[in-house]
Symmetry: C2
Subunit: 277 residues, 2 copies
C-alpha cells in the first residue's frame, strides 16, 4: 500500500498482519497499534517528540542489567503493573490481596530455617515476623514456600549496594506442617524508588515524589493454590496514601508493634486461593 496518510496508516499496518499465526499475539498487537496510533494522533505528536520518546525508551533499556529493571519501574509508576495485578488477581473475599511484584526480587535467595535471620547484617532495627498460611476454608497450607524480601533502614535493597558480596534482607523458607512461619529481620522503612535513571527523570517531570511506604515483600507458593505475590505495609507510614507505584491495599496494612525491649513484632496471616487449573 502506497501513499498512506495519518488516518489510513492504521488499517495498512493491521492488514499487514493478516497472516499472523498466534491468535492471542494478534489480538494484543492489533489493540496496541490502534492505541499507539490514536495516542499519536490525539496529541499530534511531533517528530522531535517521537525522537525524545525513542531516546527515553533506549535509555530505559540501557539502564537495565541483572540487578536493575528500569522498564518494570516505568510500568510501576505509570500504574500499568498495579492495573495488571488488579485484573489478574480477583480472588474470593477473605483471600489475601495481591500487589505489585516490583523490580527487586532475585531468584535463588538464601534458604533460612524457621526462626532464622533474614537480615544477614542489613542495617535496621530488629523485627520478629510471624504468621500462618491458610487456604480459603482456614485449612493450613502445609510447608508453603515463602519468599520474603525488603529494603533496609536506609531504604536500599541488597541489589542496590554494589559493595555487598552476599544477599541481605531476602530469604526463602518453608512454613511448618501447620502452615506457620516465623523469622527475624529488620524493620522495613519507606524508601524512594531509584531516581538516578530515566524513570526518576520522568517522575521529576511529572512533579511526583518517588516514595514507597514501608513494606515487606512476600511471594507464597504451594501446590493446589494460586501463587500469592503481595506486600505487608506498615501502619502509620506517611506514604500509604501516595505510594509511587499505587500498590497499597487497606487489607495489607498491619501494625508493626514496637516492644519495650526495642524489638518490633509483626504478625500477619496469609489466605491463599485454591487454584482451579
Amino acid at each position: 500500500m502506497k501513499n498512506v496518510d495519518q488516518n489510513t496508516i492504521t488499517q495498512a499496518v493491521l492488514e499487514r498482519m493478516g497472516n499472523m499465526p498466534d491468535a492471542r499475539l494478534k489480538t494484543i498487537v492489533t489493540s496496541l497499534v490502534h492505541h499507539l496510533h490514536d495516542f499519536a494522533r490525539e496529541v499530534q505528536l511531533t517528530e522531535q517528540e517521537l525522537m525524545h520518546a525513542i531516546e527515553f525508551l533506549t535509555q530505559t533499556g540501557q539502564k537495565c542489567d541483572d540487578k536493575r529493571q528500569e522498564f518494570i519501574l516505568l510500568s510501576d509508576v505509570l500504574g500499568l503493573s498495579m492495573l495488571t495485578v488488579a485484573m489478574n488477581n480477583q480472588k474470593p473475599a477473605g483471600c489475601t490481596e495481591a500487589t505489585v511484584f516490583g523490580p527487586f526480587f532475585v531468584e535463588g535467595a538464601p534458604k533460612v530455617a524457621l526462626g532464622g535471620d533474614v537480615a544477614q547484617g542489613a542495617p535496621g532495627q530488629p523485627c520478629s515476623v510471624s504468621g500462618r498460611v491458610v487456604g480459603s476454608r482456614g485449612q493450613p497450607v502445609v510447608h508453603a514456600l515463602i519468599e520474603v524480601w525488603q529494603a533496609d533502614e536506609e531504604g536500599f535493597y541488597d541489589v542496590q549496594r554494589p559493595e555487598l558480596r552476599a544477599p541481605q534482607a531476602r530469604a526463602s523458607m518453608q512454613a511448618d506442617g501447620d502452615g506457620r512461619f516465623h523469622f527475624k529481620t529488620i524493620v522495613a522503612e519507606a524508601y524512594p524508588i531509584p531516581t538516578d535513571g530515566p524513570v526518576g527523570a520522568l517522575l521529576r517531570a511529572m512533579g511526583r515524589h518517588p516514595w514507597r511506604p514501608a513494606h515487606l515483600h512476600f511471594m507464597i507458593k504451594a501446590p493446589g493454590f494460586e501463587t500469592l505475590i503481595t506486600h505487608v505495609f506498615r501502619n502509620g507510614d506517611q506514604y500509604l496514601e501516595s505510594d509511587a507505584v499505587f500498590g497499597v491495599r487497606e487489607s495489607l496494612i498491619a501494625d508493626w508493634v514496637k516492644q519495650p525491649d526495642g524489638n518490633t513484632l509483626l504478625q500477619f496471616d496469609f489466605v491463599l486461593n485454591e487454584s482451579h487449573d
Copy 2:
C-alpha cells in the same frame, strides 16, 4: 489513594500529575496513560504477558548502540514513524513529500564536491544522480545543503559493516548557485531491515517480511525553507506495495534508467516548502 482497582487506577495516576509543570508533557503523558491502561484492559493483559513485554522492550533498548537504533525500527514497523511524518509534513501541493528518517543516518558524513563520488568503494552498479532544489515558486534554493545516504548492492549500509574503517555510500554536499546538484554513486537495491534483534523476531511473529524497496535517502536543508527528509524510490521494485515501514509515496518513485554503457541515470528535483517560523 489506596485500594485502586483496574478501573479507578487510571484516574489515580492522572491525579498524581496535578503538579506537572510542563503543560505539553502533561498532555502527552495524560493521553499515554489513558491509552496504555485502555490497551491493557481491552486485551485483559496477563501478568506473564506484561513481563514478556518488559523483556521485549529491555532487549530492544539493549540492542541499541551508536550504530543501531532498534526503537526507531520498532516505531517504523508499527507505522508510528510514518504516521508522525504524515501528521507533521502536510505541505502545499507541488512540494516534495516527506517520508521516514530511518535508523541509518549518521552525523558528519564526508563532504563531497558536486560531481564527486559518494560510494567510496561500496559495492554496486554505477549510478549518476542529478537534480535541482527549488522553492514552491520554482526559485532556486541556492547552495542547499544535501545529505544523501543509501544501502549498497548487498543491502547493507556502511554502519552495518563492522569491518569498514571509513564511511561509504553517504555524503554531504552543497547545491550550486542555481540549486543544482549531481554526484556519482551506486544503484540502491532493496534490502531487509535488520532482523537479528527483537524487531526482527516481532516481524516473524507477525508473519511479515522485512523488505524495503530500493531507495536513496535525502535530507535537504536551507535557510528560509522547511527541512525535507525523504527518499527517492526506484520504479519497478517489487516491494513498493509492501514496504516494511510504510514509507512509499507515489510522488517519490522515479525511473532509474540503465544506459547502454552500464551506467544508471537518476534525475530528481526537490521542491522545498518555505518556512513560516
